[in-house]
Point group: C2
Amino acid sequence: MFKNILIIGCGMIGSSILRGAIAQKLCKTIYVFEKNSKYLNQIKKINKKIILIKKLDKKIKIMDLVIISTPMSEYQKIIYKLNNNLNDTALITDVGSTRVNVAKLVKQELSKNLNWIMSHPISGSEASGPKYGSKNLFKNKWCILIKSKKNKTLENKLRRFWKKLGSKVLFMQEQDHDKIFSVTSHLPHLVAYNLIKTAQDFQKAHKKNIIKYSAGGLRDFSRIAASNEIMWRDIFFNNSENMSKIIDLFIKNLKNFKMDIKKKRNSLLLDKLKKSKKVREQILLLKQDISKPDFGREN
Amino acid sequence: MFKNILIIGCGMIGSSILRGAIAQKLCKTIYVFEKNSKYLNQIKKINKKIILIKKLDKKIKIMDLVIISTPMSEYQKIIYKLNNNLNDTALITDVGSTRVNVAKLVKQELSKNLNWIMSHPISGSEASGPKYGSKNLFKNKWCILIKSKKNKTLENKLRRFWKKLGSKVLFMQEQDHDKIFSVTSHLPHLVAYNLIKTAQDFQKAHKKNIIKYSAGGLRDFSRIAASNEIMWRDIFFNNSENMSKIIDLFIKNLKNFKMDIKKKRNSLLLDKLKKSKKVREQILLLKQDISKPDFGREN
């Protein structure tokens, strides 16, 4: 499919693409650029044929697919290197979680003769680093591609690439993407972080060790709130307008909830609690989660 | 250990106690009172020796342990039956999730010659009904008993009972209990319900099907928000003062979070996101959760 693929940034997501591309034989040679020296040995162990490169210099002229899977705050520096060294037949993609900001950056900074089509695979976990990657990470998961007017051939090539990794591919406008994921992904993460912070504040104020009783619900949020801080700072900063709006709606609903409890509005509250179940049913029907109670944790 | 145990309300928790008590041979005969006729066949299938009773009448005089595992809003009716029919050597316990309200109710309504010591096993799942129970549900989980001044012998008997089911038993004051669990259990559930409600509101307003993209975080909250609505209404209503306080702290933190994002307070935000990881580490160290990324969901 491709001759030479370059993966820039080889953490959990990058190494999952790496593993999948090797397993599916999606290229002749695969190159990796990774700044974190601790990761290099882990990457070498994945496959002997992987070529580690130390600089994004003229040698990258041979690449026909470049996949950027670093935190988004690294993109600007990378773009300069690509502008100087990449061949204009190459396809560039990235796996960032917000898209309007990257669309802007690419428009402003990338050489007009280079081609960048954005990807966002909806998969991940709280773990960081190449040892947590999996060739099956993208299997049956959505991968959102952002519509490009430029180059249909490259768009099709990118779609086929993700399909080979197991993704269900879907095209979206970047504005729609950022709105939708502010609700389904960014708000849940923010709320999880905020819940852990609130528990920490309570613990400090009351001098009680409450973490040991976290099995009643808190532990599930703690998993989400253990995600990579650089990645999430970048997401929150880059989707700040949508975040502001959805936080406001969340707070409005929370205040109503508080009044429902305070005033013992029985049928209103029961109705609210019951309606959530429908969402869970939809999620299971859409195979967005496993149906085993308690995530199938072993008892 | 006991001659005759009666379980009143045999859903997920009740049937787990039932299964554990049979497996550990904690009594000669075990009786079940369950109002939901749909559950009766499921309960019969658990074990042939289980005796189903249809009324809480004079026949219950023979019980030496009564375990109430109905929603807390059922307790008042049950207390009247116990007052009229139970022998004063019997031990009564329950598994409700808030304790100050039940302590009050018992003080006001239960016959002075009867003995009620409250239990709260910290285990459960979003699933309701006896078919989801497990004899191992309580294994290595905390079970909080509320200190009673009355009867040390019965207190010891109850402690041994939970230990045989696999619980780690701990004594607490009811006020401390309700404060601690408002943070570690009740707030996480309320926040999960509120997140799903917010996603539903957004979906309605924007006419976008967002649920299909829930794998980015929302799905995990949807599991918690699929919990039994009667049980959770009872918890929220009965712990309303603590809930009010902790919701206010949560909203205060959320507003700060929003400003961190809006004003791009880089180091403040990074620090906040990093600190959450420490809680996750503690939770794993305390074996309150499995350490497999993404709850070990299969890829």
